[in-house]
């Protein structure tokens, strides 16, 4: 999509568009392709789920949107941000911005904010909850401390913390895990972001508390109308929260579709394997079908399918010799697998 195209249809423009994002990490004697050609769009007010096992690059992808990755990560590609409120923030490529510069700081925490996995480490033990929530508000919304406090108290009320006047002056250790995660959510939403990145927001919580936090996030999304990028390995959470899902494996998005397509009509052997290997509540007691083998390192994997060694439907001589193209199956379903591409024809053309 070029710039002219975007001008013709301004209403079609997604809030955030990640195009061909690559993150390389220099190892001792090799280059690790931690994220390799990832593309997806996040529409305004919608929830996109990013699923995958540990080490598949889902956290690096989400952090690169905030430009929070360490220096060792060499990032190329485009992350185009199209603000719907701020006209100056049109087609900003976050990858090109200086990660400590003014422009990024005006986006980070204000337009795009983030919830981290572990609520204890995301909060500073040395400052009161109120101080920490007010920090972002004073930076981005108002310079007036009294007003900032008012906003902070209102946020605490919104995330369901009762007795907020007293809680405002307490320290993180006085809160339980679920309450801390509420505080983190209050912090992230205090500047009315357009996009909320939630990196495993409920993984550290008990199921009963997880249910509360998911319900809270849904109702706040309804109220504020923000988009959510939900990073998780829990397919149950995905099924409940998301509109669209991107499945990642070894740094690549292997399948992208609406949530119903992913669960009822999965195409990629990895997605199928993931759904089969998951123990489901309410199914009969039977042997699980695991995906054999383990995830390899993403080194020298660009010219073959990363799932080749574990795949039950692999085609020798095809899947292991060249890069897998992305195949569009329908308007909202794409898959990166030779089973669905016309590899024969491609060979002819080549």
């Amino acid at each position: 999509m070029n710039v002219n195209n975007i001008k013709q249809q301004p209403e079609e423009k997604p809030l955030l568009s990640v195009k061909n994002l690559n993150i390389e990490i220099q190892m001792d004697n090799a280059v690790l392709n931690a994220v390799d050609g990832v593309s997806f769009n996040i529409e305004k007010g919608k929830t996109l789920g990013l699923v995958g096992e540990s080490g598949c690059g889902k956290s690096l992808t989400s952090r690169s949107i905030m430009s929070l990755n360490p220096k060792e990560c060499e990032t190329t590609g485009e992350i185009l941000y199209n603000s719907t409120i701020d006209k100056k923030m049109n087609n900003v490529n976050i990858v090109d911005l200086d990660p400590t510069g003014k422009k990024v700081r005006s986006i980070r925490g204000k337009k795009i904010s983030m919830i981290f996995q572990e609520p204890m480490t995301a909060l500073s033990p040395l400052y009161t909850i109120g101080n920490q929530i007010m920090e972002a508000i004073l930076l981005h919304r108002t310079k007036n401390k009294k007003e900032a406090k008012k906003i902070a108290l209102e946020m605490l009320r919104k995330v369901g913390i009762s007795d907020e006047e007293k809680r405002f002056d307490q320290y993180p250790h006085e809160f339980s895990g679920g309450m801390r995660q509420r505080v983190v959510i209050a912090m992230a939403l205090s500047c009315n972001p357009e996009l909320l990145i939630a990196d495993e927001p409920t993984t550290a919580l008990d199921v009963t508390i997880q249910a509360q936090v998911m319900e809270l996030m849904k109702s706040l999304q309804y109220e504020f109308g923000m988009a959510i990028l939900l990073v998780t390995h829990d397919l149950g959470v995905i099924a409940e929260m998301c509109d669209e899902v991107a499945v990642m494996y070894l740094g690549k998005v292997v399948e992208k579709a609406s949530v119903r397509e992913i669960f009822y009509n999965p195409k990629h052997p990895y997605t199928k394997g993931l759904i089969k290997s998951m123990p489901k509540l309410g199914s009969e007691k039977k042997r699980l079908e695991p995906i054999e083998g383990t995830v390899p390192l993403a080194i020298n994997m660009r010219n073959k399918c990363g799932f080749y060694d574990r795949c039950s439907e692999r085609i020798a001589g095809v899947c292991d010799v060249k890069a897998v193209p992305d195949t569009q199956l329908s308007a909202d379903h794409s898959v990166r697998c030779f089973l669905y591409s016309e590899y024969g024809e491609e060979e002819k053309n080549a």
């Binding site: 199921v207 149950g236 409940e240």
Partner: protein, 343 residues
């Protein structure tokens, strides 16, 4: 006819929590309260509950990894003697200790990074048995093959292995003494789903082959349903419900179990979510609520629940379903919804 292998009766555990550092005052916090259950040879009993409910403490007390405050654990030995496992003398303890083993949650911190995998797996053999070097090597090689590890990698250190492989090492270490009972404390929680399924299957295969009995501690109800024969639900140090896995999931008799079941997100976008959301937090065990400890969060609580502590009693036709709720027989509670199921 499967026989009872372990009988736990009125197990209590108190921790002392310091309240005043200068005058060394402390208050006892009851972490386990009157835990009673039995274990039949070859079965898997799962223990579920929220964090802080005492699942791990229970596992460790049974193993004598922690000293229980009171109560007894009667162990039926292989030569059909009944011994009080918690009060064994030194000699007997050494003899029976190898029969009950444990697998820990985090395969990254459970293995000593300075020992080779061979040393890790063979250590229980060397301390418990008097074997020659050649025999030890043979046994370690056998067990490594059983759990799916390549025996040629035994001289490497744990850092060279992935999470799933490390958990296999931990399982091999637990298995090497040929235990009869293994306590699995969140043994698959730290693993990715595709690896988790491999380990769950492995545990099942080993159980079939060696007739091992598992106490499976977990917070993940979908895993529990896949693996267990019976399930005990814990809340604030008490077992509030104990029944066969089908009874727990289809026909729960305690409101807490019902709420736990409905909290699990279903991997099905079409599933209706009329879930019961518990208000509030897990109460503080240092200052538990009066009466039934679940009453502040229970949607069915009455005045009786605030004052009277419910006894755990057998209900149902065959009296194998235990519930600690005043209204266990009257309440109509929802089990797992089988309605719109994926696939």
């Amino acid at each position: 006819m499967p026989e009872r292998i372990l009988q736990v009766t009125d197990l209590n555990k108190e921790f002392k929590v310091k309240t005043n550092k200068i005058f060394k005052r402390s208050i006892p916090v009851k972490v386990l309260k009157d835990i009673t259950f039995d274990l039949v040879e070859g079965e898997t009993l799962s223990i579920v509950g929220e964090s802080g409910s005492g699942k791990t403490t229970l596992g460790r007390c049974v193993l004598k990894g922690l000293d229980a405050t009171s109560g007894e654990v009667i162990y039926q030995t292989e030569d059909d003697r009944e011994v009080d496992y918690l009060n064994l003398n030194k000699e007997d303890f050494k003899k029976y200790r190898k029969d009950i083993q444990m697998i820990f949650q985090d395969p990254y911190s459970a293995l000593n990074p300075r020992m080779t995998v061979y040393d890790i797996i063979s250590e229980p053999l060397i301390t418990n048995f008097d074997l020659e070097k050649r025999e030890v090597e043979e046994l370690v090689g056998d067990i490594a093959k059983k759990v799916g590890l390549n025996p040629s990698l035994m001289k490497r250190y744990p850092h060279a292995f992935s999470g799933g492989q490390r958990q296999r090492i931990a399982i091999a270490r637990a298995l090497i003494t040929q235990p009869r009972i293994i306590v699995c404390d969140e043994a698959v929680s730290a693993l990715d789903v595709s690896i988790q399924a491999q380990i769950i299957n492995l545990l099942g295969d080993l159980q079939k082959e060696f007739g091992i009995t598992y106490i499976f501690i977990s917070h993940d109800l979908s895993v529990v349903q896949t693996i267990s024969d019976r399930v005990a639900v814990m809340h604030l140090g008490r077992i509030v419900e104990l029944a066969s896995v089908d009874d727990i999931f289809d026909n729960p008799k305690h409101p807490y179990t019902e709420a736990l079941l409905s909290s699990v997100p279903k991997a099905d976008p079409d599933a209706t979510s009329d879930r019961i959301i518990l208000e509030g937090e897990v109460p503080n065990p240092g200052n538990p609520p009066s009466g039934c400890e679940f009453h502040p969060r229970c949607p069915y609580a009455t005045e009786k629940c605030m004052t009277e502590i419910p006894e755990i009693k057998a209900i149902g036709k065959d009296k194998r379903h235990y519930s600690a709720c005043h209204y266990a027989e009257e309440l109509q509670l929802r089990g797992v919804d089988y309605g719109a199921k994926a696939q």
